[in-house]
């Protein structure tokens, strides 16, 4: 058993960290305040190899794994969880195309997406409830060699900036009369397809979240990803492994922010003539944040390592996602407490960390849904 990154992974981590420190850290607070999505950073992240880090080289990627992908997200989310949301959802859609798309689809979409000149997404959630995947109403019918898509998706990341989005649509039913779904790629600019309202969010600002509306949108039959009727397993596999890995990584990044800021503030803040880091009550908060960060990190990277070994990792990612996002909520609350009045002043990042952490709870499936998955796996295995 070895808990260390390889020399090459350490180098990558340092490279991602340097990029994040220079390109993200100075702007993160502004993006949050102005709810600005820094689209101009996408090509730069493409050049860095962040976007396609897990994509094989023949499709324009770097050919590394999910451990490295998670590493990049942690470094980005250390300063901007909102930007990390945008990056991961882009990768989530790319993963669906990579794992289930045809060779033509991979060659058509992935190089631009790795370069950051095209933006992807994965749209499942509908107004009828994200947890109730089987209740989706968006429908696609094959008419004269074209999919005719009708419906509405909500809470979709990259809704207003995506150039090609993988969308789950009801395409039939099984022998028991239950709906079956398929994944179809819709490209921006298609007649009858476009974004609806954009949400003004509590946290994870800087990523766009909004509706996608399909009104007799027609796309070629070959835009189907995977087979007809495989939409749910495809979406669940990608959300379960790539999506939740990302949410766990983002929460881990927020936790590191909480830890670093807690240490810095408590060493600098002088009360009773000495730094508050000498007060045991403050030290206990710091110890709790540290334990949460270390645990989240171990769970997240272990799950990523399991996936990179080619083994199923859905339960591991659910555990990591559940633990890390809840831990980020409590750690950011602790940071606000450590900072006293300064904790609620928006000049400091503490409040943003807390809002971002809260935003992480439902994205990628709520804590309840994670517990249902973990319990199911546990009752099977033990």
């Amino acid at each position: 058993m070895n808990f260390n990154f390889t020399e090459e992974q350490e180098m990558l981590k340092a490279a991602f960290a340097e990029f994040a420190k220079e390109e993200i850290a100075p702007n993160a607070a502004k993006w949050d305040e102005e709810n600005h999505t820094p689209l101009d950073l996408m090509p730069k992240m493409g050049e860095m190899g962040i976007l396609g880090v897990f994509v094989p080289e023949q499709y324009g990627g770097v050919g590394l794994g999910h451990t490295e992908r998670v590493m990049a997200l942690e470094e980005i989310a250390r300063y901007s969880a909102g930007l990390a949301m945008m990056v991961f959802t882009h990768q989530l859609g790319m993963a669906a195309i990579l794992d289930y798309g045809t060779e033509e689809q991979k060659m058509k979409y992935l190089p631009g997406m790795c370069a950051g000149t095209a933006i992807c997404g994965l749209a499942v959630t509908e107004p009828g409830g994200g947890s109730d995947v089987a209740g989706q109403k968006t429908e696609a019918q094959l008419v004269d060699g074209q999919w005719v898509v009708n419906g509405r998706k909500c809470f979709i990341t990259n809704s207003h900036c995506g150039t090609a989005t993988v969308i789950t649509c009801r395409t039939g039913e099984d022998e028991k009369g239950r709906s079956t779904f398929s994944c179809i790629i819709l490209e921006a600019g298609t007649d009858g397809y476009g974004p609806g309202r954009e949400e003004n969010k509590l946290g994870l600002r800087g990523s766009m979240t909004g509706e996608l509306i399909m009104n007799n949108a027609r796309v070629p039959e070959e835009n189907l990803v995977g087979e007809v009727g495989m939409g749910t397993p495809i979406a669940m596999k990608e959300i379960g492994e790539v999506g939740r890995a990302s949410m766990a990584a983002i929460a881990t990044g927020i936790l590191r922010g909480c830890l670093e800021d807690a240490v810095k503030f408590s060493k600098e803040r002088i009360v009773y003539g000495k730094p508050i880091s000498r007060l045991q009550a403050i030290q206990f908060h710091i110890a709790e944040i540290r334990c949460d960060y270390e645990a989240a990190r171990l769970m997240t990277y272990r799950a990523a390592a399991v996936k990179d070994e080619g083994k199923p990792a859905a339960a591991e990612f659910s555990m990591a996602k559940y633990f890390a996002t809840e831990a980020a909520c409590s750690a950011s609350k602790r940071l606000i407490e450590i900072m006293g009045g300064y904790g609620v002043v928006n000049e400091y990042a503490a409040g943003r960390y807390h809002r971002d952490a809260l935003g992480c709870i439902s994205s990628g499936g709520t804590s309840e849904i994670q517990k249902i998955i973990v319990a199911g796996d546990t009752l099977k295995k033990y």
């Binding site: 350490e10 180098m11 990558l12 990029f19 220079e22 190899g49 590394l64 990049a72």
Partner: protein, 276 residues
């Protein structure tokens, strides 16, 4: 155009509070302190990569070779240079090179440069280096290296351009800028304002796996041990002094009810007494 870039792994400038000086040898104790590529060496590498890519874009052959005299444990810093875009790297690494001052260091590097040229069967055109290292900060090595090789050197270079065979370097000297133009082999020591070094990308790191990195000991270089390392170093460090920076506050006003006006008067009086 064949370019050699000198690179030195130095203790991370952000961790200087962890540094110690050995009271016996009066040299930095580097063990256990995280090293980074000397910051201005990254500027030198960036300048070299830009020149190389310009040549390649013009249909010429060009390459960037990184050279370092350093302990073997800092091999990963050379891999970082390869990841940034250098084509190959040479590391001169031997206990016999240890403890060298700038004179002995530049000598070993000059011999390294000659051996690289011999190995490749092709001479270099340019040598770039950072103007000074973050730890020693003497700015001696690039100049001394040029002297060993008998070629031109220009330090404090803040701009470097190539036009055909002509190189144009701008040197910052006090408050004037001096522009030099010329052809032929030369050493340029660059400052940090010459450029902003590129980020190391994931693609670069993966590509670095396949790039050649050679480590030469003195067995390969075959240098006389009296000319290298501690023995070859004429510099004798003098006494080590830690300056006293203690500052003691002294109350100027005993009266608790004193006003700002009183304080200003007291400060003015004190300054007057000190001759201001």
């Amino acid at each position: 155009m064949r370019i050699i870039v000198l690179v030195k792994p130095v203790p991370d400038p952000e961790k200087y509070n962890e540094l110690r000086i050995d009271p016996e040898t009066k040299r930095l104790v580097r063990e256990g302190v995280q090293t980074v590529i000397n910051p201005t060496d990254k500027n030198a590498l960036e300048a070299a990569l830009v020149l190389r890519d310009g040549r390649i874009a013009a249909g010429e052959d060009s390459s960037v070779t990184v050279l370092s005299m350093a302990p073997e444990f800092s091999r990963d810093k050379l891999v970082e240079c390869l990841a940034m875009g250098a084509d190959d790297a040479y590391m001169l690494s031997d206990v016999a090179f240890g403890g060298a001052d700038t004179y002995a260091t530049s000598y070993v590097l000059a011999e390294g440069v000659k051996k690289i040229a011999a190995e490749k069967g092709e001479n270099f055109d340019l040598i770039l280096a950072g103007n000074e290292s973050a730890d020693g900060a003497t700015a001696h090595v690039p100049v001394q290296l040029a002297e060993w090789l008998g070629i031109t050197h220009i330090s404090r270079v803040c701009s470097l351009e190539a036009e055909g065979e002509t190189l144009r370097a701008v040197k910052r000297s006090e408050d004037v800028l001096l522009t030099f133009e010329g052809e032929g082999q030369a050493v340029f020591a660059v400052t940090r304002d010459i450029n902003k070094p590129r980020f190391i990308s994931a693609m670069g790191i993966v590509k670095a796996r396949k790039k050649p990195l050679s480590i030469w000991t003195n067995e390969e270089l075959g240098l006389d041990e009296s000319a290298i390392g501690l023995e070859g170093s004429p510099t004798q460090p003098g006494r080590l002094i830690t300056p006293e920076l203690g500052r003691a506050g002294r109350p100027l006003l005993a009266d608790e009810d004193a006003t700002a006006e009183d304080a200003a008067k007291a400060i003015r009086a004190l300054l007057g007494k000190e001759g201001f």
